[in-house]
Subunit: 512 residues, 2 copies
């Protein structure tokens, strides 16, 4: 049976001498990658780690991150990719909650680990690599590999076994571990390959962090096709230089990072003609960003709507429709079945906004050790996304807002994303977030928080006037605040609206 | 769960106004196709046909053929696509063996049906369409649709329910009904889409008959992507004209038909630049044919190895390797697990010829009503293909011969395909088949049967000499016969070697 557990073995047999991974000056063929993964898998087993054990990894994007994914699949170990931006207290919570027995950690994170270490209740084994003061009693990654007895026969796994646990960023309540299975990720791999039309001739650039499903499905889809992956730490010019150097063809970037790249002064200095696709997930890109991007960095831009709980990409826009249907997230990929429901879980017709729900082979098995949260999210076999949206007459999905970001003003629903999309087309606006703030008169009042482009100017009244005739009166911001700093972002690069809202709701009961 | 049963419903919702089918002057959008299929499904149900009933179809390629596939999936009816070249006695055998309750038949086949009719034991319902004297008591297809109460809710099916039964051509013994399931065909659809890199922008030309899995998987893969299919009856110039007219991008053709197209005097008269792919199945293309084809009709040529019992394409060659690795059938597609075994079913190492065996989600459920044949073919969950081949060091599959076409001469195995490949590169050779003929001295002796190009000449001695230094002495034909007629072909366009052999083995005990 087809499974992500076998794709590396398949690739090394079929494409032994092809480039598999490119990380800085390190280039690894599928054959060599296979040998390293056999060694890592053997080493993990020798350390006493077995099928079902949780092994965490804390690193930026690297070839060792990819090796950990493959070695986990080869041993049946459950990989726990940790958000690299977490504070020590959050690391403690997650590692204890998941009952992680081992941690792989790179030099940049030794400090965070040491700060957390004393509070870790289940951690027994640390494997470290990279520069810095290696934590005491940690094993060194490369030495482990050199000394290992390679595990060449994969440990058998079942389709509904857990392969990875991703902790959600936890904007409300405590972080929850999303348990994904081999069946989930195998379907996700196929959906990405079919949906994006990936082939043997592609090279995937991991600019998005490998601890997120923004493109962690590529870990499986690219070897399936015999195609290489490049790992990097995002920085706008570095991305451009690496695309030129590695002749990468495709990359996933949130709109905020696209904005950074296309506004970079050296955007025209690199030859990035091999790039055929920028997939942007996370949030709908404001139209203004897309228009500018299409001019400054011409390629295909594809909006993807994806969720960790549904193992990645759920819908994909066709590149031809990026500008003509801006705001649309496109069509569901093959293994995704999606509908829109009201607050009583009744199916809603086309063109009617409600909560997006998803079912099928892509939906997570459970939240780790949280049966109540699982039951709440997976009602009647439908995963409830918390996203408000609608399908148009051709089943294109439009996400209008997070349920929690929707503003209720004078009894009307205002979707913050719609207002942001209008303001983003103003030439002076670099970044914008629209939130609800307390109002005696309206309950909530619409407010825009704006970062202006360097050298540009605009007044509050001018921006409010700009919205007129473009959206209904009740959606137009009552006020605009200007920020000299970039807007706060979540770890996936989305505007962190909760943090923005908190400033205005202090001492009051906000909705979240 | 993803299933071929839902792909048309999905496509009509997502791509209502896109072209779905192009058949002569008839163009049908996905929306219209959906309405017609709803009506046909309703009509079949009203006629008393239910889930699991076998309904046969006897037609050339047509939009109604496609409609029948979709209506069967919508009702859970088992479609029985009949080889259009069968003699009445063969039709009788198959329809009775399958217990077909209904038959859809087009005008060109009314005669064949009438000749068979009196002997059909289970047939109750005939639905006819097209020109000619409609069989008595037959329903007329279009009238049924016009009068039908549409079935808009698909009948639920399980992944292991049978969706189609294809009868094998039966070169030995009686024809066997290959029972394929929804699971089989869903995996086949994905494998073709991923393997061939098909997208929304493709248009598939059905030049191969829809009663064969050469490309009947396209019935599902193209709507999955929202892409159109063209139906035609193959004739070389008609194919070229239709590619130009419909801007088709991909087609499957056996090497014998590629040969006819690229040798057609008007091959250069049509604009076929939209064509990006010719998949050739059925048999490895002789190198000479490929070399000429690449000159005369430049596009990507991709060798596919496929079998009805494994629901279509098993391996695919990358187009870049068509000439450099001629004879290779390429790599397995994602859902196919293949190995090579000896006569005792022991796995053989790389580079060693044995029988190709296949397992996984693509393997048929059974031969219809033939538990012994099923058990013989599906030993230890591996389907035994009857094809001799080997994997090279990069897991490219090479099919050297049908087990039955292998020649044993003086104790040595000679693979007829290898010898044909050499002779095909001789400039005077248009067609060639290599067979074993009776020999007192050698047991079997290698013989080539050759059709020369119009205006070319070559002697037996010249062709034998041409093989020297190219293959080992024992493989070189001991004799060459020249045929003024085209070589006999099977219904899939392969050389019908059994019929060729029979002429030489009359009155003797041949091996098959």
């Amino acid at each position: 049976m087809l499974s992500i557990a076998h794709v590396l073995a398949r690739a090394r047999a079929m494409f032994p001498d092809r480039l598999a991974v490119w990380d800085g000056e390190t280039r690894i063929t599928f054959s060599e990658l296979g040998r390293r993964v056999d060694a890592l898998a053997g080493a993990l087993r020798r350390l006493g780690l077995n099928k079902g054990d949780r092994v965490a990894i804390l690193d930026g994007n690297s070839h060792r991150y990819l090796e950990s994914y493959y070695a986990a699949a080869q041993t049946g170990i459950v990989l726990l990719p940790l958000n690299a931006r977490l504070a020590p207290a959050e690391l403690v919570y997650i590692l204890n909650d998941a009952g992680a027995r081992a941690l792989l950690v790179s030099g940049a994170f030794f400090g965070a680990f040491e700060a957390a270490r004393a509070s870790l209740r289940t951690l027994e084994i640390v494997v470290a690599y990279g520069e810095g003061n290696r934590p005491t009693s940690a094993f060194e990654y490369e030495k482990l590999l050199a000394d290992a007895e390679p595990l060449t026969q994969p440990v058998p796994v079942e389709p509904d076994d857990i392969c990875q646990i991703y902790y959600t960023s936890g904007t409300t309540g405590e972080p929850k571990g999303v348990c994904l299975t081999y069946r989930n990720m195998t379907a996700s791999m196929l959906d990405a390959a079919v949906g994006l039309g990936l082939t043997f001739r592609d090279t995937w650039m991991h600019a998005a962090p490998l601890f997120h499903l923004v493109d962690a499905w590529a870990v499986w889809a690219l070897p399936l096709l015999g195609a290489p992956q490049v790992t990097m730490h995002f920085e706008p010019e570095r991305l451009l230089a690496l695309i030129e150097r590695t002749r990468s063809t495709a990359v996933a970037l949130p709109p905020t990072l696209i904005n950074m790249v296309v506004n970079h002064p050296k955007v025209g200095s690199y030859d990035v003609r091999t790039l055929r696709l920028i997939m942007f997930g996370g949030s709908p890109a404001p139209l203004g960003v897309l228009q500018q991007a299409s001019q400054t960095l011409p390629t295909h831009y594809t909006h993807a709507y994806g969720i960790t709980e549904t193992s990645g990409i759920c819908t994909l826009q066709r590149p031809e429709e990026t500008l003509t249907k801006a705001g649309s997230a496109g069509h569901t990929v093959p293994h995704i079945e999606a509908e829109v429901v009201d607050d009583d879980d009744r199916l809603l017709p086309l063109d009617t906004v409600g909560e997006v729900v998803i079912r099928g082979e892509r939906v997570m098995r459970e939240y780790w050790n949280k049966p109540e949260a699982t039951a709440e999210a997976l009602r009647d076999s439908w995963y409830h996304t918390g996203d408000m949206g609608y399908f148009d007459g051709e089943r294109n999905l439009y996400i209008v807002d997070r349920k929690k970001d929707m503003i209720i003003t004078g009894g009307e629903n205002v979707y913050s994303v719609e207002v942001e999309s209008v303001l983003s087309t103003h030439p002076a606006v670099l970044e914008v977030a629209v939130i609800g703030v307390p109002s005696e008169q309206w309950g909530e009042a619409v407010k825009a928080v704006v970062v202006l482009r360097a050298g540009s100017a605009a007044t509050e009244q001018e921006l409010i006037a700009f919205c007129r005739d473009k959206i209904a009166g009740y959606k137009i911001p009552k006020s605009v605040d200007f920020s000299a700093e970039p807007l706060p972002k979540t770890s996936t690069g989305k505007p962190a609206k909760r943090r923005l809202r908190d400033r205005y709701w202090e001492g009051r009961k906000s909705k979240i």
